[in-house]
Subunit: 206 residues, 2 copies
């Protein structure tokens, strides 16, 4: 299958979560308009996205939930799952670990890194914390493919370089420092201040 556009992948991730909770409520089928309403988007968008991944429903019963989950999982997940490291065990790093672990069987945070010796060689929510100097070794021995950067701005570039050097495949950067990585690494960046300033601008106009 051709590479799926970023916005579609984001929606597929949300569809899966929405239908998982539908399934947990004992439902077996869902209509496009129901799925659309859970995400506050249009039914046309839902049908277009699911058609793109070759998934079709029936007029009478809609989409079969189990099939839909399997179908999306096949696209997003890998069979063995992927292993994730969090770099920077401050409040943000901890938020990610508390929030994620146990919720996704195919994405597991297996290591945290920090420079604070109070945190190193201890566990946070079951995740061991190592010194950043051991990053290269741990990424390799633990077979980690994704790194989440949650360190202060000044350290972000150095951390990204270490991750790339260690052979990471994807980086999720939460520091406000915009990074530059080689094309062999997928980079996604999110900047809290920018989001808040955007809300501030539009709030002012409300």
């Amino acid at each position: 299958m051709a590479k799926i556009p970023e916005k579609t992948i984001e929606r597929l991730s949300k569809y899966r979560r929405a239908v998982l909770s539908y399934q947990a409520a004992g439902k077996h089928h869902i209509f496009s308009h129901q799925l659309a309403s859970l995400l506050h988007i249009t039914p046309v968008q839902v049908r277009r996205d699911l058609m793109l991944i070759g998934h079709t429903g029936t007029l009478r019963r809609g989409y079969e939930i189990k099939d839909l989950i399997d179908n999306i999982s096949e696209i997003i997940d890998t069979d063995k799952g992927q292993r994730v490291a969090v770099i920077g065990l401050g409040n943000l790093g901890k938020a990610f670990i508390s929030y994620l672990n146990g919720k996704r069987s195919k994405l597991t945070i297996v290591a945290a890194f920090d420079i604070n010796f109070d945190k190193i060689e201890r566990n946070f929510a079951g995740v061991p914390c190592y010194h950043i100097d051991n990053l290269n070794e741990i990424i390799k021995t633990e077979n980690i493919t994704i790194g989440i950067i949650a360190v202060p701005t000044e350290q972000a570039t150095e951390v990204a370089e270490k991750l790339v050097f260690a052979g990471i495949k994807g980086i999720l950067n939460y520091s406000p420092k915009s990074l530059n990585v080689p094309p062999s690494v997928f980079l996604e960046e999110y900047d809290m201040i920018t989001s808040l300033e955007k809300v501030a601008y539009y709030s002012k106009l409300q």
Copy 2:
């Protein structure tokens, strides 16, 4: 001035931060290609964005940094600044407070809300924490216009309803629950799991 598109506002926020650090390093002017390189975008994009807000540089010296900062600030900020509340004082709420306060003179987190009595009536990093039952009253007396939702999924809808009822202008929602708000409120949502699943998908293809 007409309402500026979301993507442009996001870049303006980033331009301002980039030139603030340039200014802190003692520089007075910046060329579009320098600004572009700090953000890893094209100089054409920079020139187009700044032209949209009526800002022009000179061929010889580029943009004057002080003017540029003033110009962007006039668009994003309000004179008196805006006051912000964080709802949910878990790791994510704390990350936001530690990260933001003191960095933006025009956006100040003045209150946190939680349901945990260990947190209520105490301060975190100088921000007082109140019981969620006092939200309506505090939002009004403290003149808060922006709310950041950092509560678990199940509580997100109820918190949003309380914020809207209290007359908030903008919401930044970090819970994975997609919200529905009246058009009088600007809503920005960010979902950590979706971002990570997106990185997982593209990492797999690398």
